[in-house]
Amino acid sequence: MENRLRLLRAERGWSQAELGGRLGVSRQAVNAIETGKHDPSLPLAFKLARLFAQPIEEIFNDGGSND
């Protein structure tokens, strides 16, 4: 799943470890999510949304359409 995590993290000047610590996950987990190798669970997606103060769909794009 595509996401804007790397961009949002870079805007705040955070390392992957810094973001991982704020989320309660490892640096490797942040890397796996950023590179699309792991889709986060719903609770983790909500944590990300709260952390970046943005709706989940603004952070993640599943490529789907409502048409």
């Binding site: 810094e18 610590g21 309660g24 490892s26 490797q28 987990a29 796996a32 709260r50 103060a53």
Partner: protein, 149 residues
């Protein structure tokens, strides 16, 4: 929508370092427990001048049960702490490894048993199947780690 919980720069990295320290303490603790059990077995076997595998037939049953119970409790406690410390990516990696190990065991034993009955292979080896399952799980785990590097 809630704002950020942590605002101090570097606080996340400190949290991550703490989480990583707990993770390695769990892994290290279980390794030390395994080494203590191995040392106990080896030293006791050496003192009786027998092979390590024979030690369980040469010590009082109550001692054997006690040692195994303590080891099992340490293992279960270590696993519980480990699963409390890991995140969802590590959990998925562990589930992949467990599934690979289980499937390997579930297929290897009946195949080997049938080939043994057909005199193509010797009778199945308990330890061979055990270590093959552990090895398969380890390979699956390492593959997941390599893929996500």
């Amino acid at each position: 929508m809630m704002g950020e919980v942590m605002t101090e720069a570097g606080e996340g990295e400190r949290q991550e370092a703490r989480r990583r320290r707990i993770f390695w303490m769990c892994v290290g603790g279980m390794l030390i427990a395994g080494m203590v059990l191995g040392l106990f077995t080896g030293i006791t076997a050496a003192s009786k001048d027998i092979a390590s595998a024979e030690i369980w037939t040469k010590i009082p049953q109550s001692l054997a049960v006690g040692v195994i119970a303590v080891s099992l409790a340490a293992f279960v406690y270590g696993c519980w702490r480990f699963y409390k410390a890991i995140d969802e990516v590590e959990l998925v990696d562990n589930l992949w490894a467990s599934t690979a190990a289980y499937y390997l065991y579930a297929t290897l034993f009946p195949v080997w048993w049938a080939l043994g009955k057909a005199d193509v292979l010797p009778e199945p080896s308990d330890w061979g199947i055990y270590f093959a399952a552990l090895g398969g799980g380890a390979l699956a785990y390492l593959w997941r780690k390599w893929r996500a590097r």
